[in-house]
Subunit: 363 residues, 2 copies
């Protein structure tokens, strides 16, 4: 690291303890069985995307770009199907700056929703959306700079206000947990393109058939777009959706003011919108969301998003839909960050999701 | 894609068939059992890396980089431990332009070494090396351009000479296989740093304990470096290692001429080199490697690397080591590309690896 020549940059040695690897699998509380995960199959594939074909003729001796192709903008998917799987699989989709890790081992080394719902008998598909993680081959150029930003995410993800953790936050104080949490971040390669992203995910449903989409944060908005594109999305569970709430053109609410900037709804034709009234949708938000506007933008943005989600619920349901918004502290589940599914109480959070799936006959 | 403004670029619609998803798991020929994979645990973590700490004081209201950190240059690891696992796990490491997908589902939708060796009772760790795939957070800036290059890889990876497949090549002619193959490529983010890369992998062995390292191509050279750093690497299986063969300083052979450019050995102190004589090492190369220099650089480079591997074997073994070089066609296994472990005959290739592990009491 010294070769960076940045003398004012302090390099911290990273001590990786060996204590996190021994994940407990005595899991009767997690789901089924004897602590073992029994899979009928697992694998990975790319889905969606496009191909750039350069004009000219390929010359194997010079190997210039002439006449060569470039496949990019696909999603990458890793899937596991347990033995005797339930009918509908779960398709898990990460949020901004994140990848499939969101659903895997938690920052403090416990099982995430991938394992928890495999144990509960669901097929599990984990997406890396186009231009992220293992789907890094982007058809547009990218410049990526190592700009320190983690204390900002610590706040925006509502772990606390750096360097303080929120009182009662469901996040381990072990420094190694924070190390793992920060290393869950991976860059976007080449910008966001909603059509590319939701197009690839729609093609995933074409390939696997009917399923339940589980979104987080930024993928919340992409998830609504995917459901508009593909009726094989039979339900959506959305953890803390951010921007991109879609309304009938004439029913877009006024922007909601926030110290993180105004939050706007997106207008679409009523006929399109009506597709979202055909499937059960549940939205969860965690704790530490202020009731009134405050001047900490990382935290205040979630107040605006929760308010927008409630407005959206009311409009979808007015048109015959089935949207539920759950603010977890209101049902007694406290201390959750922006990542309820990997927080210390994630079994309790998973139980809520299981309850929803059961109520809607989706399990 | 039109927004690229490259009017001469032709965009091909990508049709993803649904036929590849039904991986057969009637696997008595693959390994053990009833077609099911039974896991005691699985999970993921980051390992190694460094931290940039910006000077100044973090302000949660402005969220400028002042006083913020940036964790990067770690490896990302996904692991699975089967029930009643053998003592030593296998650590699988991808090659250039690739990621963990190398070992997962093959381009034509069959099981890769991840599943094959899980079924054979080994714990399996899949690495994304620092600055690649899910380990995309690089401490150095990167500029990534979508430059068409796939026909070049088709040749360098010895599938054929575009647009022709080599006669008898162990690669599916299904266009979807080629689509998946090209989408296994993902960019390097920020350049190669051997110390960063082998440092992270050495830390992985510190964390998990003794294991067997399985490298491919570019990671062949990084693998020797990892074994020099960490005695917990108890054996190496290397598929088609490329550059980076290390010799005692006074025994570095003359560069080997090739139409892909001269191939050079790397000198290190004898005392360091001797560490590589303490573990069993096996190296495999596939088919379509010319016996004499030819003017197709993609193919000819492998002639030079195979020759260098044999020189290296002789020097290591002269110093008391245990290196075997297997040129697969010479033992009657024909048609293999640069990716023998995912070729159509990958069960046969896996059987060779199992035989080696058994002979060396590593299973």
């Amino acid at each position: 690291m010294k070769k960076l020549g940045l003398t004012r940059i302090k390099i911290l040695a990273v001590i990786i303890g060996s204590s996190l690897i021994g994940i407990s699998c005595s899991s009767s509380k997690n789901g089924t069985g004897n602590g073992l995960i029994t899979l009928r199959e697992q694998g990975s594939f790319a889905v969606g995307g496009s191909v750039i074909t350069n004009p000219g003729t390929f010359d194997p001796k010079t190997r210039t770009p002439d006449g060569q192709t470039y496949h990019g903008d696909h999603a990458y998917v890793f899937y596991q199907i347990p033995d005797k799987a339930r009918k509908l699989p779960l398709v898990f989709w990460h949020g901004i700056g994140q990848f499939s890790k969101t659903w895997e081992t938690t920052p403090d080394g416990r099982e995430g929703f991938q394992n928890i719902f495999l144990r509960r008998g669901f097929g599990v598909y984990l997406i890396d959306q186009p231009r992220r993680g293992n789907a890094g081959r982007s058809t547009v150029a990218a410049k990526i700079d190592p700009i320190p930003d983690e204390q900002g995410w610590f706040g925006t993800f509502r772990v606390g206000i750096w360097p303080d953790y929120f009182p009662g936050v469901q996040f381990s104080k072990d420094p190694e947990a924070l190390n793992q949490y920060f290393r869950q971040i991976t860059p976007n390669i080449g910008g966001f393109d909603t059509e590319v992203i939701s197009g690839a995910t729609s093609k995933l449903f074409d390939r696997i058939g009917e399923g339940i989409l589980v979104t987080h944060s930024h993928s919340g908005g992409f998830g609504w777009q995917t459901a508009l594109k593909n009726s094989k999305v039979k339900a959506i569970v959305s953890y803390e959706p951010g921007s991109g709430f879609v309304f009938p053109t004439w029913e877009v609410p006024a922007p909601i003011a926030s110290s993180s900037g105004p939050l706007e709804g997106v207008g679409i034709p009523l006929e399109e919108f009506m597709k979202l009234t055909k499937i059960p949708i549940i939205i969860y938000y965690g704790d530490f969301i202020p009731a009134q506007q405050i001047d900490n933008p990382g935290q205040d943005g979630w107040r605006a998003r929760l308010e927008m989600a409630r407005l959206w619920r009311d409009v979808v349901n007015k048109h015959g839909g089935d949207v539920t918004v759950v603010h977890l502290p209101e049902i007694g589940i406290k201390g959750n960050t922006h990542f309820p599914f990997s927080d210390l109480n994630n079994i309790e959070v998973a139980d809520q999701m299981s309850k929803f799936l059961k109520e809607k006959n989706l399990d």
